[in-house]
Symmetry: C2
DNA sequence: GTCGACATGTAACCAGTTACATGATTAA
DNA sequence: TTAATCATGTAACTGGTTACATGTCGAC
């Protein structure tokens, strides 16, 4: 693997390490409450990426003995690693975003579905989106205005905007379907 | 591969075939102007999925000789195929959606970026989102109110909602960044 | 003693992408 | 003759997921 052509997840891990030394376990937790909304590597992938970072000289590993908990290995980003990260951040050729939504796919074929099943799926989407919006709203209250979290907050805003848009949209669709049923009745 | 555990793309192709007989090439075009926003298989995958559908008995293949164009193979969904599709549509256990946005990832680490580079990336997002919103808006004018396109229209609305939300969000972030610069100046 | 949090990995798999390959027909 | 559209695939690869495996420590 060419140093200039690494998967995005490599840089995601590297970037998280700029917030401080972390173990694979720490990173896994960190992902959930930070970049998880738009980038969520599997646990096993985090561990293998960490090995890669060490191989590349982008991070150093250190074993930490603990008495109250199992031992762990923490990783610290190196100068070389930071350089690589900055180069990636400034590269204009970004991997393009990907969005896959099997529920929209089902809705597209909605004419083949029972209205009840369809409505249930839409209620599901709506509930999930509303739940996510609530969660993110809570995080927002914690980090809004904190200068050190300015950029993370900007990405949180994206998540909130999408979650709210999704919830509103699902409502809209449910209303449209309801109106159609009235007409055909 | 178990019949009850096929990849979503298999059903995506199957679903498109409910709109009429199509060749791999037709499907490829169809995807672009329909489900492409939330499900976009590669061309090569479409062809291999078609083979799978035939193997499973979910579609039948027919060679069509053409004089003005290269010959082609068109595919028609079978009764068995429609049954499998309906079963999938009504299954409550949906594969969950996936969203990957490397640009949000970069923004999360924005404190390591030059403001100009960051602004350029955000302008890029904004431009793309606005462009998509315009495109989808045009399609909307064509299918809005057409009863046969009701469900596709509902999914289009989702695309529009997200594209608009993204454009607004990008503007918001650019404004926030601008304000911060004023303060620190 | 058992549950939950902490902690680190391996192995197998495959969906999906990218690059490559080929060729017909039409229109500019 | 060049480009665009139509048309169908193969081969190689890999990023990422899922399931499995193993264990420590503290609290209840």
């Amino acid at each position: 693997m060419d140093e200039r052509n690494l998967p995005t997840t490599t840089f995601a891990i590297l970037g998280m390490l700029t917030f401080g030394e972390m173990s694979g376990y720490d990173l896994s937790k960190f992902v959930e409450k930070s970049i998880g909304y738009f980038w969520s590597p599997a646990k096993s992938q985090i561990y293998s990426e960490l090995r890669r970072l060490v191989d590349l000289g982008f991070a150093v590993e250190q074993e930490v003995r603990q008495e109250d908990r199992p031992d762990k290995r923490v990783y610290r980003i190196t100068g070389e690693g930071e350089e690589a990260l900055r180069a990636w951040l400034h590269d204009q050729e970004v991997e393009q975003e990907s969005y896959k939504n099997p529920l929209l796919l089902k809705l597209f074929f909605g004419r083949l579905m029972d209205h009840d099943a369809l409505r249930a799926q839409l209620e599901g989407i709506k509930g999930q989106a509303a739940g996510l919006a609530r969660e993110l709203g809570e995080v927002e209250r914690q980090i809004k205005g904190e200068e050190e979290f300015f950029y993370p907050y900007m990405t949180l805003k994206a998540g909130l905007a999408h979650a709210r848009a999704t919830a509103r949209w699902a409502d809209d669709v449910l209303r449209h379907i309801g109106e159609r049923e009235e007409v055909s009745r």
